[in-house]
Symmetry: C2
Subunit: 412 residues, 2 copies
């Protein structure tokens, strides 16, 4: 893509509304547009990152055997009355009536709706187990929307639900999702910690949170810097007996063994091998997709801007054309890269080199490539690896190999 | 995918709530789940089709140089007051207040919001022209939700917006989108007709509708069966002077030259070459994504079920394993096909052949492949082309070539 044709509009000034580092960088680098407090639109750069996050998640969910669907955003209040969660979640539900006075809400979550769907079709143990998931916009009337996508009224979640006949099977699915989440968060290169959690209003027996340490976190854990261990309670480290320090944590994923709370309340039963009616045993597994975008921005940046991991960067690289006359070469390089699945933002703007460098650092491309003064003589492209600052000189026709090598190294 | 592990639950009976052919088939074949009147969830089969539709649209939009974003579903009423459309669309808007008494609505469309976004960043003619688009769930409190996804309270739309400095540039973009829409609707194999339309409440000077003839259509055109021409007015055919007949039509796409209605009302100006403030000249371009799913189902089916075009079928083929012991062979075939980008639903269920055939026809796979009695001796797979009923016998190791040939023939 040519920068000159793109709708990318970085700002030189720090936005006044910014409440934290990621919020500032995502607004300044033009990933997000703030519609109103707690409500955001994803601009092309932000949307590209979100799609990459979704791609990582979907790949792992499919490998785990989960099937994708998309539930409605609007839900009748009736289904919430069955579990009593119309009261539990009353404060955060956006509710309204349609012209026929039907009481409706915008789904803050989808346990009730998925249970209604599954009970309609699942009648026998033979159909079990299965895992269904969706990636969807959810709505919560947050008391304190803040930190951009960290806590917003409209946000994107991946929510998965497993259905089993036995507790053992639920535990197997739970374990499978636990491992799937590790793979997913590894891909995002998040420095996460998994903590046993209280199932709380969700009900059920066991629950784990996937937490990322960040100044803007809302949960507190205690961290031993020597051993890299986290603890829920204040006190000395169990390994080295050293002092622990309080760390604020952001929750990016949460998995629950729900058990039969929903299936009992909503009468979702199947017949078992003996022909007896048994309630479905459920698990649910959430990832805050839009929150991951903010969590990565919050924890992977430096003084010059964002530093995206390769797996979710909006473009795999930016190519700064600093001398005129080389746009055709740049486009040729882009078409080579595209064939291999790499995307390129070609900065062909008539702007000083400094502006181009600043924007490339701010946007946070994993690689910044430069066609500069020496290109005519050498046909070599200067490449800077954003994360480490390493610099390379690569012949134009070796750029594809270079990127492939870099990606292979990371995958291993 | 193995049918036995899938969440596909076709029904033998026709659903009682079905209001038309597509509604009946999409419920019966388990593409959709009806949450409530006018509100649907996409089950795995329906969601696969929707994703394919999106893929076709995105490919063509990118080729046309459009950039994707995602706007918020929740919008402040304030921005609607600027154009007065808070009144024009009052009847269909879902409105509510948040806990801070902000007046909000669920976007029935996004002209106001995109204009707010663009005016924030576009200040100079040098940034023009560009086209932005999104694929998003929209919300309208329909007076008469009906025919499944044809007219529902929650639906998925592709909406694109072009921004230009001059009327000529708008017309160029309009022409580009017109041609892009032809390519898109060709891919869906819809028998569409393009009609000049009245811009109506959208404002602006020119507008075209992309219409598909169907019994459940809500617009009426007059059709000459001899010449295949459509007319807005009743009367004789302009070509052959023959009688025309009334045809009901479903609108699947609509493009508008909006002009400056929104930019003037919302003060979206840029500086032109002479440094004068000029309002942005806008176009908007919609496709009813979820409606396309229903329109194809409505117009491409037979007495046995759905008949998906290859471009948007949930799976490229179904493989019915009618003799036991061949599941491993089926999985091997699937992995060959997957490498070439073809998806396969392997019907490995312990069901009679008749049930498997019925479901395969009902779901509407473009190709039904059979491992039957003769497979042991011949290693040949019987293949039936759903659309034409043609039958082939293909050696297992030639199946990939067969599907490739079939797809190449269609693309040409």
């Amino acid at each position: 893509m040519l920068y000159s044709k793109s709708f990318i509009n970085t700002s030189r000034e720090d936005p006044k509304v910014a409440e934290c580092k990621s919020h500032k960088l995502l607004l300044k680098a033009n990933f997000l547009y703030m519609v109103s407090s707690g409500i955001y639109s994803y601009l092309p750069l932000g949307w590209r990152v979100l799609n990459k996050i979704n791609k990582v998640i979907k790949k792992q969910m499919v490998l785990a055997g989960a099937q994708e669907l998309l539930m409605s955003a609007i839900q009748p209040i009736d289904i919430w009355k069955k579990t009593g969660r119309d009261k539990d979640l009353e404060e955060v539900m956006f509710k309204f009536k349609d012209r026929k006075s039907r009481e409706l809400c915008l789904g803050p979550t989808h346990e009730e709706e998925i249970t209604e769907i599954v009970k309609r079709y699942a009648t026998s143990y033979k159909q079990l187990p299965f895992i269904l998931y969706q990636i969807q916009t959810k709505f919560r009337d947050e008391p304190r929307p803040r930190f951009g996508l960290m806590r917003s009224s409209e946000f994107i979640m991946k929510d998965a639900y497993s259905f089993s006949l036995t507790q053992q099977c639920l535990e197997d699915n739970y374990q499978k999702m636990y491992k799937t989440y590790e793979k997913i968060f590894d891909k995002f290169r998040l420095n996460y910690f998994i903590s046993e959690a209280d199932p709380g209003a969700m009900g059920g027996s066991a629950s784990h949170e996937f937490m990322v340490p960040a100044e803007i976190g809302e949960d507190i854990l205690y961290f031993c810097p020597g051993c890299n261990n986290y603890y829920k309670e204040k006190g000395r480290c169990a390994s080295c007996q050293g002092e622990t320090e309080a760390k604020k944590m952001v929750e990016v994923g949460h998995i629950f063994q729900l058990g039969t709370k929903y299936s009992m309340a909503q009468e979702a039963f199947v017949l078992d091998q003996q022909g007896k009616r048994k309630p479905l045993i459920m698990g649910c597994y959430g990832i805050g997709v839009s929150r991951v975008l903010s969590a990565v921005a919050e924890t992977a940046s430096d003084s010059r801007g964002l530093v995206w991991p390769k797996s979710i960067a909006p473009f795999d690289a930016s190519l700064l054309v600093l001398e005129s006359g080389w746009n055709q070469e740049a486009l040729e390089l882009e078409s080579w890269l595209e064939k291999e699945g790499f995307s390129l933002l070609i900065d062909d703007r008539k702007e000083p080199a400094g502006v181009k460098f600043n924007d490339a650092y701010l946007i946070g491309h994993p690689y910044i490539m430069i066609i500069g003064k020496n290109y005519r003589g050498s046909a070599k492209i200067e490449v800077e690896k954003r994360e480490t600052g390493q610099k390379f000189e690569i012949a134009k026709d070796k750029i594809v190999d270079f990127l492939k090598d870099e990606h292979n190294t990371e995958s291993n």
